[in-house]
């Protein structure tokens, strides 16, 4: 093994002529990265983290942030977390060269597009109140729960909870469909990821044209204004098109 042997973390692939100014600009809060060129492609790499849990956690945020900074300036093929190459010279010969055409295809696919992730949550008390107010049975069960000694209410509680859960699911279906409908015109594609919280409405990555980003954000703002009494909205991105990179022709179903 040569002296140069070290573990290099691979963040992603970009065109070799990409500027990457944003990575420079955010360098005080990003790990040190290097760009290794191979013809018209380049890999963004850095030192792999130490083998301990804290370093792994730090690296998770770092991985996402480096790629976010890169996508501010260029198309990026994001790598999954945890891919390590043994030495500098392997980047060109082992990583890029054998897959040059594939990487170029992927770069073309995300050219001019970025991912935005919309996370919407119900205001817990507001939606619960809606459910109780609109469901006589929940109201009655709730009364029953109050009149029964604490230790004897488990069955009633499970019944209430299940009913609330069903009502919540119905609302979730309705509301998430409505949100998707409103964003179709300003995005190339959209999908839904698993929910992260019980009162989450939708966890939705969208593929958006860079020159429609403003329109997209305005659309999100617009319906968030109308719904802010019962929902909270968070919008993440721009980030690389993680959720759409493996789809040949991403589109709305």
């Amino acid at each position: 093994m040569s002296d140069e042997q070290r573990n290099l973390w691979v963040y992603g692939i970009v065109p070799a002529d990409a500027s990457l100014e944003e990575i420079e600009r955010r360098s005080d809060r990003l790990p040190k990265v290097e760009v290794v060129e191979a013809g018209d492609l380049a890999a963004i790499v850095g030192d792999a983290p130490e083998e301990d849990a804290k370093a792994t956690r730090d690296q998770a945020l770092a991985h996402a942030r480096v790629l976010e900074a890169a996508v501010a300036d260029t198309s990026v093929v994001p790598f999954r977390f945890g891919i390590i190459v043994g030495a500098d010279d392997e980047i060109a010969t082992e990583l890029i060269e054998p897959r040059r055409d594939e990487f170029k295809q992927l770069l073309d696919r995300v050219d001019g597009r970025v991912q935005m992730v919309l996370k919407v949550y119900y205001d817990e008390d507001t939606v619960l109140r809606e459910i109780v107010d609109s469901d006589e049975e929940v109201k009655q069960l709730r009364e029953a729960m109050k009149e029964t000694p604490e230790e004897a209410t488990r069955d009633v509680r499970v019944q209430i909870g299940e009913r609330v859960n069903n009502a919540l699911e119905e609302r979730r279906q309705r509301d998430s469909a409505e949100i998707a409908e409103q964003l179709k015109g300003v995005s190339v594609a959209g999908t839904a990821e698993g929910l992260e919280k019980e009162f989450m409405v939708v966890n939705a990555p969208f593929l958006v044209e860079r020159d429609k980003l403003e329109e997209f954000e305005e659309a999100v703002d617009g319906f968030a204004q109308e719904r802010q009494d019962r929902m909270h909205f968070r919008l993440l991105g721009p980030m690389p098109a993680y959720n759409f990179i493996d789809v040949e022709e991403p589109a709305w179903a």
Partner: protein, 129 residues
């Protein structure tokens, strides 16, 4: 760090730079390109990362939490509820953040309805991350 609200008082919380592990873990662990010849390292703690953000929905535990939430929900038309039951129940479930919410909701129900306590809701959200 990078949290910002867009100008004009938008209700949408924007974060242009990832600021929480919970937001990135599922994406970077499950999405993105995998290059076959380079074995993905088994970094210490990758599975822990995933466990941190895992949420199981629609279990009996969820139902019980929903029932508890409905129970402590201040409803406008009702007699004030005896607090004892709520406190015991919450202590039992061991949810520290929640017990505060339950006590507050019980103590000032009416004002709670008139002015939903947003801070409290946020706090509960935080404590579950």
């Amino acid at each position: 760090m990078s949290m910002q609200t867009s100008p004009g008082g938008s209700p949408v919380e924007r974060s242009q730079e990832s600021s929480s592990l919970a937001d990135v873990v599922n994406t970077i662990l499950d999405k993105g390109v995998v290059v076959d010849v380079f074995a993905r390292v088994s970094l210490v703690g990758i599975e822990l990362l995933r466990a941190d953000v895992r949420v199981v929905i629609a279990s009996v535990d969820t139902y019980l939490r929903f029932a508890e939430a409905v129970d402590r929900l201040g409803m406008g038309t009702e007699e004030p509820k005896d607090l004892t039951g709520v406190v015991e129940d919450v202590t039992e479930s061991g949810a520290k953040g929640k017990s505060k919410g339950a006590l507050e909701a019980g103590a000032d129900k009416l004002s709670d309805i008139l002015e939903p306590d947003e801070e409290d809701a946020k706090e509960k959200e935080e404590s579950r991350r």
